[in-house]
């Protein structure tokens, strides 16, 4: 679709120049008197791919909820794009792919309606959908190879197709940070592999930072390496920075997806 441009390799200094997307500083959180996280510090830079691995109950989902501001830490601070998480306003910077099991398969909505809901941020709440919104939806569907499914009911799709719909919804606003909460759960191995391939492509070709929660070690390790960069309690953080990419001069986030106006 777009011309591939060559870009000089990135030097170490440039790498460190990447802004911090998420900064956790000595964060503690407990439910009642049961501590979930204690004294956790971690930084995620632009274009990092962070795999957050841990057994059930290790606090993965809690950490995600803290990062997006759904929960408040008992102690410590959390910053998103350099601003305190609870006062962070540019919500369209964040794309969110929920656990697939959270949604009701009987829900009456077409794929198109679901994907477009990714644009329903606070800013344009009262306005109708513009032609530009529709075009952006077409782009997102095409990028996920589900353009033929637009008018299908979301519950009628296979698990793998649903994953792509949720990813399309998360990408439609042109996010800078993509948060995936156990996106692989409940689908077969081949579908998982395809989905991970798609995610990897996004990471390598676009200026998007990834934070993915998973309990599937294999898939994550194959991309992010064998050893975690950091561990905290039962949580492990696997990190891979992407910058050996050839076409990073491409400013459009999804080649063709229009940027949020």
């Amino acid at each position: 679709m777009t011309a591939v441009q060559t870009v000089p390799a990135i030097t170490e200094t440039q790498l460190n120049c990447h802004p911090e997307i998420i900064a956790l500083d000595r964060v503690s959180f407990s439910f009642g008197n049961k501590p979930v996280l204690s004294d956790l510090s971690f930084r995620i830079r632009e274009r990092d791919f962070v795999g957050l691995i841990g057994p059930n109950g290790a606090g993965k989902s809690t950490l995600l909820r803290l990062i997006v501001g759904l929960l408040k830490p008992d102690a410590g601070s959390i910053e998103l794009f350099g601003k305190p998480a609870d006062r962070f306003k540019d919500r369209h910077f964040i794309g969110y792919v929920p656990q697939r099991s959270n949604f009701n398969p009987l829900f009456p909505a077409t794929v198109r309606e679901v994907v477009l809901s990714g644009l329903y941020g606070r800013k344009k709440l009262f306005r109708g959908l513009s032609r530009e919104d529709q075009a952006r939806c077409d782009d997102a569907l095409r990028a996920m190879h589900i353009e033929d499914l637009g008018d299908k009911r979301i519950g009628a799709l296979s698990g793998g197709q649903q994953q792509r719909v949720f990813l399309a919804r998360a990408l439609i606003s042109g996010p800078k940070l993509l948060i995936l909460d156990e996106p692989m759960s409940g689908v077969d191995a081949e579908t998982q592999a395809n989905f991970f391939h798609l995610i990897r492509h996004l990471h390598q070709k676009h200026v998007i930072t990834f934070l993915m929660v998973s309990h599937d070690m294999e898939m994550v390790r194959s991309y992010l390496g064998r050893e975690p960069k950091e561990t905290a309690g039962k949580l492990s953080f696997y990190v891979r920075h992407s910058h050996e990419t050839e076409d990073c001069a491409e400013t459009d986030l999804l080649h063709t997806i229009r940027k949020e106006g």
């Binding site: 929920p98 009456p108 909505a109 077409t110 679901v114 809901s117 709440l125 919804r169």
Partner: protein, 268 residues
């Protein structure tokens, strides 16, 4: 004799037609948010308010409305406390409402107070004030839902994503509860407190069976609601049946028809 020329029946049709838009519409959002039972709960609490209104001589529907709104706040609070057992809060509030209503109705025995007309509805006794209230409620609900349709869709589909997207989720939850309380208080005179929840939930059940898109779902709940209410009032009028009960039985017939159509569609 021609039913349609009689004023009481015309009032019933107008009131019924208005409620048949708003009740199924709010019901759709409630069902999608898995709060189908909230209608039942609020209507039972509302009845306690109605009884109190009679006792103290204030327009009963208004007091019922206040009770329902108050109850919706308490439900939201309890829902947070018992996060994963939301229906527990509904059961508690509902029995509280019925208990209070039964005591108030007993206290009001000396007054000219007919509990049956509120438990089972008395659509043929709608007066100008009632119609005005119903019209106002309809206007408010349609305006608020229309303006917030995107937020309501997102909230119903995926509350977490809505919150991550910066939507004030609590505000919208309370808003839905208040709108529901409004609709229920206005609908009580039409189908009665015991049957209000059918008008909220059965059209939604039909639309879940039939619709492919959210737009269709909204259209179908309103069509089903209107069909059942208008045909139900007419049938009840001609054969002298209880209007509320007739409407609800028609709704259930429509649901059976929807499910049959769906099975047929699935086979094709």
């Amino acid at each position: 004799m021609d039913l349609f020329t009689m004023e009481f029946f015309q009032r019933a049709l107008i009131g019924g037609a208005l409620i048949a838009v708003t009740a199924p519409l709010m019901g759709l959002f409630l069902v999608l948010r898995r709060l189908a039972m909230i209608g039942d709960t609020l209507s039972h609490v509302s009845i306690a308010g109605v009884a109190l209104g009679f006792l103290v001589g204030v327009y009963p529907i208004a007091v019922g409305l206040l009770f329902a709104v108050a109850a919706s706040f308490v439900i939201e609070k309890l829902r947070k406390t018992y996060r994963t057992y939301a229906e527990l809060s509904l059961a508690i509030i509902m029995s509280g409402g019925v208990a209070l209503a039964s005591i108030l109705f007993t206290l009001g025995k000396g007054f000219n107070l007919d509990p049956n007309s509120y438990w089972f509805g008395s659509i043929y006794t709608l007066d100008d004030a009632d119609l005005l209230v119903i019209a106002a409620v309809t206007a408010i609900v349609l305006a608020v839902v229309g303006l917030n349709r995107k937020a309501l869709f997102l909230l119903s589909f995926d509350e977490d994503a809505a919150a991550v997207g910066g939507l004030p989720v609590r505000f919208f939850n309370v808003m839905i509860s208040i709108l529901t309380a409004l609709v229920i208080s206005a609908a009580i005179k039409i189908v009665g407190a015991l049957l209000v929840s059918a008008l909220l939930t059965v059209p939604a059940a039909c639309s879940l069976a039939l619709s492919r898109s959210f737009k269709q779902a909204v259209a179908i709940v309103v069509i089903v609601g209107e069909a059942a209410v208008l045909a139900g009032l007419w049938i009840a009028g001609v054969w002298n049946l209880a209007p509320g009960g007739t409407v609800v039985l028609l709704l259930i017939l429509l649901l059976i028809a929807s499910l049959t159509v769906r099975t047929r569609m699935a086979r094709v």
